[in-house]
């Protein structure tokens, strides 16, 4: 049985939060439900777009800087013998 649009929307919000590192407990789930409910008030058209756009701000998802991929380059050179 496929999810109805509200179930699907709630599932997406919770999955998004979980993948963003948020521990999804009762409080978070209720907050997600409220957000879905509020977003639904504007109608089902474009629900997912509006809902997912609102998630980061509503839940204060932080954007930690990724680790440094590589340190600053300090150019050196490889020397080659005149004849191998």
């Amino acid at each position: 049985m496929t999810d109805n649009i509200v179930e699907d929307a709630l599932g997406r919000v919770l999955a998004y939060l979980r993948l963003s590192g948020v521990t999804v407990g009762t409080g978070t789930t209720r907050a997600a439900l409220r957000l879905v409910d509020e977003t639904l008030e504007a109608g089902e058209d474009g629900l997912l777009e509006r809902l997912m756009a609102a998630v980061p701000e509503r839940f204060g998802l932080d954007h930690p800087e990724p680790p440094m991929l590589a340190p600053p380059v300090r150019h050196g050179s490889i020397h080659y013998a005149r004849r191998s």
């Binding site: 997406r12 993948l19 963003s20 997912m52 150019h75 080659y80 191998s84």
Partner: protein
């Protein structure tokens, strides 16, 4: 050497090295002459015609080759029974001096190319954790140097790197560099690292994708390098671990039981002019950068272009610059893995064969190389060239047998200007004696290895004396089955190399078993050849048929041998019955334990590209690390994005996928679109997967 570098001091090991090498050469020559005399007596015309001269020449090369191995193992046995080589580097300084030596900044670099990410990073994680336990982790930085070209592969590597950074708290200490253009293979990858960051480090430890090293060993190596500034490279002798298939367990057992004898002997002969094996070694960065640049070969065919097998050459150049290169078998906690199947080993050997044969050019023409390093080149060349020599020997002896059976006896050969007839003589007892003496040279080191284990009081680590003996007998049988297969395949590789056929360069398979179809197809030429040869032998002479069987039978059985040995179940069954046991299998060290069952760093439900699009944290990470420059045609980019939105990554080729994965703006668009995609669309289905609570 440059003016500001202190000129290395000469050490007393040199006269010892000269004495040992001279003794080895004298023994090998004497033994080869004795073998040659025996062979000459066996041949019906005693080397009196061109064909027999050819047989004698090939026999001399092969006999000398196995003689070198025999005496090396004997020296190794003697040195080990003495409690180790008194001239080795690790015995130069007492433990307190070594422990009191401060460490220097060291980069641990791991060049990777299409390797299984979880296993590779499990090895690096084990090395990091072991270093952490020494309390000296702060002296080391870590670099994953990727040459992988598929977006799926390098995205997975970068995700693994990101998670490992978080897990180990090594942000800013563990780095990932992806090189989109794989110039000059692995040596080019390491050279690229040195050009960018080599000046930041005194030393670099080079690891292979399947390497693991203990922290205590790493710190000990750095301290030895600090104590002996004339050393350019210090190589460990890695033990094989984590074998599961029967094939890998045989290789692992052989490496663990016989390996110490051969490496102790080899190290004893080479001393400060050893070879570098390309990984599990520490290198002094500055002289390496100043003297070990690999110029393209300037010859013809195979001998023109980039050097494929770089390690021996780098050791030789380091030696030429006045630095010492040591291989220290007593440095433990150094591990690597065996290819899981015969097919994988032979695939790897194709690359190695070409690389080693290329060294012939340097062996002959590179100026001012040390004698020992030229001998190391020769050793590498003969590792592969001995196969076609053996094959040629078999061909000539077959012609000899055919000629004696089918042709009338030539009493007055052209080469013999004599009035008296040349009577062909046949001495079966001489032939038997020669075969037995060859077996003696080949097998005595293996039984000395058993004796070494027993005398060391370590038999329990190998399952007990009887199981050890039975395992060695089993290994002997398998090595006799594998030798002709390797011989024929290596002969083909040598011919391919000499005719300079282009090679596919790919990462090793470290998991899969060999299927019947693959084995039958790949071994079919050898099997057919062996059936034909054995049939001819049977038709000619029953004695010649029996003589051909040790080579023909393994070739006929090559496909089943390959399939059966690739089986994990057989490897595990042997382990359960405590055969082919090694010390590491019984007393798992933390390093070995960590890679035996690697914790996955990437959730399995999504591909690396899908995860980079869907997972919010990974998406942010990949976006932040994406290129700032955009080189794509906007129209083409838009078309690929639309295709990706509709069909996912399968709708794009490798180049297109690489371009999108490197574009931060595209990744952001795909991320947003994926989370609002209809449930029955490609991206909607991916979201459906991550909605399951067990994802991640």
């Amino acid at each position: 050497m440059t003016d500001d570098t202190p000129r290395p001091r000469r050490h007393r090991w040199k006269p010892v090295a000269v004495l040992r090498r001279t003794t080895l050469i004298v023994l090998v020559i004497a033994q080869t002459l004795a073998g040659l005399y025996g062979m000459q007596s066996v041949l019906p015309y005693h080397g009196g015609n061109l064909l027999e001269k050819g047989i004698l020449f090939l026999f001399a090369v092969l006999f000398a080759w196995i003689s070198v191995g025999f005496w090396t193992a004997l020296l190794g046995f003697w040195l080990r029974r003495r409690g180790g080589d008194p001239w080795s580097l690790v015995r130069r300084y007492d433990a307190a001096t070594v422990a009191a030596t401060p460490l220097a900044r060291t980069a641990v670099v791991m060049p990777i190319y299409n390797e299984p990410v979880d296993r590779t990073l499990a090895g690096l994680r084990a090395t990091i954790q072991s270093l952490r336990e020494t309390g000296e982790l702060d002296h080391f930085d870590f670099y994953l140097l990727s040459d992988s070209r598929d977006a799926e592969q390098w995205l997975e590597e970068r995700t693994g790197w990101y998670r490992l950074c978080e897990e180990q708290g090594l942000q800013g200490r563990l780095f990932y560099r992806h090189r989109p253009v794989n110039l000059n293979f692995k040596s080019g990858n390491v050279a690229d690292f040195l050009r960018r960051w080599g000046r930041d480090y005194e030393y670099m430890v080079v690891l292979d994708a399947d390497s693991v090293m203990g922290g205590h060993t790493l710190t000990r190596m750095v301290r030895h390098m600090e104590l002996a500034p004339q050393i350019g490279i210090l190589q460990t002798s890695p033990s094989l671990i984590n074998a599961h298939s029967a094939f890998a367990r045989f290789q692992q057992f052989a490496n663990r039981v016989y390996g110490p004898l051969f490496t102790a002997g080899l190290a004893g002969i080479q001393l400060g002019e050893a070879a570098y094996w390309g990984h599990n070694a520490i290198i002094r960065c500055k002289p390496f950068m100043e003297h070990c640049g690999l110029r393209h070969l300037s010859g013809f065919g195979l001998f023109r272009g980039p050097i494929m097998s770089h390690d021996f050459v780098e050791a030789a150049y380091m030696g030429r610059a006045g630095y010492e290169v040591w291989m220290e078998p007593e440095l433990d906690e150094s591990y690597e893995e065996s290819p899981p199947t015969l097919v994988d080993e032979l695939t790897r050997d194709r690359r190695w064969a070409k690389g080693n044969l290329q060294h012939a050019w340097l062996f002959l023409f590179a100026p001012k190389l040390r004698f020992a390093h030229r001998m190391a080149f020769l050793n590498g060349i003969l590792s592969y060239l001995s196969s076609p020599i053996w094959l040629a020997f078999l061909v000539l002896t077959s012609i000899e047998a055919t000629r004696l059976t089918l042709w009338p006896i030539d009493y007055f050969p052209e080469q013999q200007n004599s009035m008296f007839p040349a009577w062909p003589e046949w001495h079966p007892h001489w032939a038997v004696g020669l075969i037995l003496s060859t077996f003696f040279l080949l097998f005595l080191p293996k039984f000395l290895a058993i004796l070494d284990v027993l005398l060391s009081g370590k038999r329990r680590q190998y399952g007990g004396a009887w199981r050890l003996f039975f395992s060695v007998c089993l290994e002997l049988l398998v090595s006799m089955l594998l030798a002709p297969i390797r011989m024929l395949t290596h002969s083909r590789y040598v011919l391919e190399s000499l005719f300079n056929v282009s090679l596919h360069w790919g990462g090793q398979n470290r998991t899969d078993e060999t299927g019947w179809r693959e084995a039958l197809v790949s071994h079919a030429p050898g099997t057919l050849l062996a059936v034909g040869w054995a049939g001819l032998a049977l038709w000619l002479d029953p004695f010649f048929f029996f003589w051909s069987l040790p080579v023909a039978l393994p070739l006929i059985l090559a496909a089943p041998t390959s399939v059966v040995l690739s089986r994990m179940a057989l490897g595990e069954a042997l382990r359960r019955h405590r055969f082919l046991l090694t010390p590491e299998e019984q007393r798992l060290s933390p390093q070995v334990d960590a890679i035996a069952d690697p914790r996955p760093l990437n959730p399995g439900a999504l591909s690396a590209f899908d995860a980079a699009v869907v997972d919010p944290r990974l998406n942010r990470m990949h976006r932040a690390l994406a290129r700032r420059r955009r080189c794509l045609d906007p129209e083409a980019r838009e078309e690929w994005v639309q295709r990706c939105l509709k069909h996912g990554p399968d709708g794009l080729n490798r180049r297109q996928l690489n371009a999108l994965a490197r574009d931060g703006e595209v990744l952001a668009r795909l991320h947003t679109a994926a989370w609002v995609a209809a449930p029955d669309s490609y991206w909607g289905e991916r979201i459906g997967l991550v909605k399951r609570r067990d994802y991640g």
